[in-house]
């Protein structure tokens, strides 16, 4: 390098250094929100959420936390699909401006320190506090407003368009004989009904149907899956409860661990799973055992239901799912019916083909009767002379028995 080049390079370097060290005015960016955390369902319309926020003073930090609660709740429990998220982002400022409508100010809170209120407050720097709060989110009000703003589809309309999902609650096989089974079933059915889900009864009177369905491949809880299918449920919720007892010098405590698993009936796909242990309560005090069971159950369902909803929103528009069984089917049924289904349905999967039965899982935009009609036509066309009958044309399963 020549001397001139060195001088120019140094000069340029000095110039760039000065520019780099010059104070840059940074435009204040958008507010930063911390993610929230679901705590429990208060009732069908309100949920308790824990959130973190920052600000120069207490009220600003609390407001930041409440907005964070709101944003987290919308994006994680309501506007879960990409299109819904986009719609939310477009309306974000308008929604956050109405935070007082959807998220309560945390109350003073009790002396026990548990429950709603400010849980923590630390000074992060000279002009910044960080707070953690637990407060109410008015779920129903928020949902109605988001529907009105076209951020999310109205659940009823969306469900009506694609077909309402039905749910059934079925105990885990190991819990069938559990003495709390009846109580839990009642609590679960009540919980779902209050939140406007359609619940079907998965009673054991469906034995014949259950036998006819045969093995549901891949289902760990085969019996439960068959019962749910026989009952016509799109989603079944397995449950079990285990009582936990503790003993202190002054008395016994009681807690419940509730496990719930939500599965899509025809595919056996796991939609959500939670195991929740309730905080221990004083066993000697009337009603505490029941409250422990309800609390664990309610908290578990509060976490699983949004997972079911999110899945249903995404999958349901693609059509209804069916489990189709051909019993004693003649040779070639699998290939011939496969071509029928390919014409009628968007998704076709042959589960198994044996000498005694051929089983398909299909997803079609038609309902059960329309699909049965298509099967009927297909058999007539492709398996001429076959003698058969429909043993079932249920909500989500069709059984054809060849004679």
């Amino acid at each position: 390098m020549t001397r001139l080049q060195s001088v120019v390079t140094c000069g340029l370097a000095l110039f760039l250094l000065q520019v780099g060290c010059t104070t840059v005015v940074v435009k204040q960016g958008p507010e930063i929100f911390y993610p929230g955390e679901f705590i429990e369902s208060v009732d069908a319309e309100t949920e308790l959420v824990k959130c973190t926020g920052e600000g120069p003073d207490m009220q600003s930090a609390i407001d930041n936390a409440r907005k964070g609660c709101l944003e987290w709740y919308i994006t994680n429990r309501m506007a879960t699909s990409p299109s819904e998220r986009q719609a939310y982002m477009a309306a974000q400022q308008a929604i956050l401006a109405k935070v007082n409508r959807y998220v309560n100010q945390p109350p003073p809170g009790p002396a026990s320190g548990k429950g709603k209120g400010v849980k923590s407050r630390v000074r992060v720097s000279d002009d910044k506090l960080r707070v953690v709060i637990i407060t109410d989110v008015h779920r129903k009000l928020l949902e109605d407003d988001l529907v009105a703003m076209n951020v999310i589809a109205k659940k009823d309309e969306m469900l009506d368009a694609v077909g309402r999902p039905t749910l059934a609650v079925v105990p885990f096989a190991a819990s069938k004989g559990n003495k709390y089974r009846g109580i839990m079933e009642g609590l679960l059915n009540g919980y779902l009904t209050k939140r406007r889900w359609e619940v079907v009864s998965a009673s054991d009177d469906l034995n014949k149907m259950v036998d006819a369905i045969g093995e549901v491949a891949g289902a760990e809880e085969d019996e439960a899956a068959k019962i749910a299918m026989a009952a016509g449920a799109d989603v079944y919720i397995l449950f079990e409860a285990k009582k936990e007892r503790g003993k202190e010098g002054y008395g016994k405590s009681v807690a419940y661990t509730v496990r719930v698993e939500a599965r899509e009936t025809t595919t056996n796909r796991l939609l959500g799973s939670e195991a929740v242990t309730s905080p221990a309560r004083a066993d000697w005090h009337a009603g505490e055992e029941s409250r422990a069971l309800q609390e664990a159950l309610s908290d578990a369902m509060g976490k699983v239901l949004p997972q079911i909803e999110a899945y249903w929103k995404e999958d349901a528009p693609k059509g209804n799912k069916f489990y189709v069984v051909f019993k004693n089917a003649p040779k070639g049924t699998d290939i011939k019916m496969n071509s029928v289904f390919k014409r009628t349905c968007s998704r076709v999967k042959m589960v198994r083909s044996t000498s005694s039965e051929v089983v398909f899982r299909v997803q079609c935009k038609s309902d059960n009767l329309e699909l049965a009609g298509a099967i009927d036509e297909g058999i007539s066309a492709k398996l001429a002379g076959a003698n058969y009958d429909f043993a079932a044309k249920n909500h989500n399963n069709i059984i054809v028995v060849f004679k």
Binding site: I32, P110, A111, S112, G113, R123
Partner: protein, 512 residues
């Protein structure tokens, strides 16, 4: 930048989820050390132990017991009415206490819990019940000294001022020293010792009480014994009342018993908080204002004094109390942690005085300029009258009166009693006072000291400025206007000019 923010959010989400997985629901719902609240304790009185050297009768000891129990068994406690007659050993007592507290544990926990809407009742978990079981205390009074005898009010002016008696006056003098020992009962784990010593609360030295006997009673041998008995009881009551305040303050300093709560709202001139009548919060109570940093370190950032008492309940409902800022090292922005700073409402001060009288009291030419010193004791009446910063004030000042008489030192002494009111503008305090009292001369010569029998009477009014440095220490200045009759007039000095003029004081006060 957007990607960086997204990354930060994802990182925070990941960390918080990982942390959250390890926490159970009860932990997630609980406040941390930055939002501490006072949780009620229960207390049982075990009895009184009297030292062998104490020769007091049951009546006097009863007064002591009554006064100290009143100072200890405050509204912030639940009382366990355990039948002590059935317990002959400490283990039996603890077993009885266990059953008593267990029966009430869920209800006591419910009183401090939030209302759970889905179950339509208070949210009470086993850990709350355990906390109640772990919050049972018992205490014993230890009387170390109680001496009631006929005597004289101390000659030392400062001691006489504290006792509120005339130096040298004859009456009944009670000297009392006692302590209170606290234990926490172990009601939870029977494999461990049944109780744990918390603290023995003592006072540094004995407390005195004095009740004067009237001159005519002293000359009446028939009435004297009964009068002495009554005066002895009054003196004991006074000493016990004084000691009870010190012991109560010592008890409130024990961390288990100290009131604490977060600031609910920071206002321009004070704070609101959720303690009140249920905990026995009193007017003018002082609280430390602290905050925590992210590392958990606590810093003291100011003080507040209670000005309005609400009916806040432990469940979180009710109206908050209000406390005025009296010291603010760093701006209060809400959510700070308040800790009780126990005080007994007594303050004692000393000041330098300079009085300028319009005419010299000894009749010398020109103005009277009298330097001196003053001692005073104030007692806060706010908890009794519910009017903030209202004091009864007793003062004694000693003014040097320059004189032409060689070998003579003349002092003009005033003893006054009055009322004082303060107003705070944060750390700057405005005071206004009005007092009345007596004055007399004290002359010191080479032959000895002589106190005049004649008294002057008068009053003064003052305006003062005080600077609040900390709850225990302030500095002040006062400007007073005074009028007193000249004691020499009473002694037949008809031409003696009254004491009329102004006064300035600069001093410091200690508060307890």
């Amino acid at each position: 930048m957007k990607q960086l923010k997204t990354l930060m959010l994802v990182l925070v989400l990941g960390l918080s989820t990982a942390a959250g997985a390890a926490e159970d629901k009860e932990q997630k719902m609980s406040a941390d050390q930055t939002q501490q609240r006072y949780q009620r304790k229960s207390i049982t009185y075990l009895g009184m132990v009297v030292a062998p050297a104490v020769r007091a009768d049951a009546e006097h000891l009863g007064l002591v017991e009554q006064a100290i129990r009143r100072g200890i068994e405050l509204k912030r406690f639940d009382y366990n009415h355990v039948d002590l007659g059935r317990a002959f050993t400490i283990d039996q007592f603890v077993a009885t206490l266990r059953e008593y507290v267990k029966k009430r544990a869920v209800d006591r926990a419910a009183a401090e819990a939030e209302f759970e809407a889905r179950f339509k009742q208070a949210r009470v978990y086993m850990k709350d019940v355990e906390r109640i079981m772990n919050s049972a205390y018992f205490y014993r009074i230890n009387v170390k000294m109680l001496n009631v005898r006929r005597g004289k009010c101390p000659e030392k002016k400062a001691e006489a001022l504290l006792l509120g008696c005339v130096p040298g006056a004859e009456g009944m003098l009670a000297t009392l020293n006692a302590s209170v020992t606290f234990w926490r009962a172990n009601l939870v784990d029977e494999s461990k010792p049944p109780y744990q010593l918390i603290k023995e609360v003592t006072h540094i030295k004995p407390v005195w009480g004095f009740q004067e006997l009237a001159l005519e009673i002293l000359k009446d041998p028939e009435k004297l014994p009964q009068a002495m008995h009554n005066a002895g009881l009054a003196a004991t009551r006074e000493a016990a009342g004084g000691l009870a305040q010190w012991l109560s303050k010592g008890m409130k300093q024990i961390p288990d018993f100290k009131l604490k709560t977060p600031v609910q709202a920071a206002l321009s001139d004070g704070v609101e908080f959720m303690l009140g009548k249920q905990e026995g919060v009193r007017m003018d109570d002082t609280y430390d204002v602290t905050e925590f940093d992210a590392a958990g370190k606590k810093s003291l950032i100011g003080y507040v004094k209670v000005r309005k008492i609400g009916d806040a309940r432990a469940s979180g409902e009710g109206t908050p109390s209000y406390a005025e800022k009296v010291k603010e090292k760093k701006g209060f922005v809400g959510g700070e942690q308040l800790f009780e700073h126990p005080m007994i409402g007594l303050s004692a001060g000393v000041s330098f005085v300079l009085e300028v009288a319009v005419k010299d009291v000894l009749g010398q030419d020109g103005l009277g300029i009298y330097p001196g010193a003053a001692l005073y004791v104030d007692y806060d009446l706010a908890p009794l009258l519910n009017w903030p910063e209202f004091y009864v004030s007793a003062e004694a000042d000693f003014l040097y009166v320059p004189t032409d008489f060689s070998g003579w030192n003349v002092f003009l002494i005033h003893a006054m009693l009055g009322l004082k009111k303060k107003w705070y503008a944060e750390s700057l305090v405005f005071t206004v006072g009005l007092r009345g009292g007596i004055s007399y001369y004290q002359v010191e010569t080479d032959l000895g000291s002589y106190e005049g029998d004649s008294l002057g009477f008068g009053a003064d009014a003052y305006f003062g400025l005080e600077y609040y440095i900390m709850p225990e220490f302030s500095i002040f200045s006062k400007f007073a206007g005074r009028f007193f009759t000249n004691p020499m007039q009473m002694a037949g000095g008809g031409d003696a000019d009254p004491e009329m003029g102004g006064q300035v004081q600069i001093g410091a006060l200690l508060a307890f």
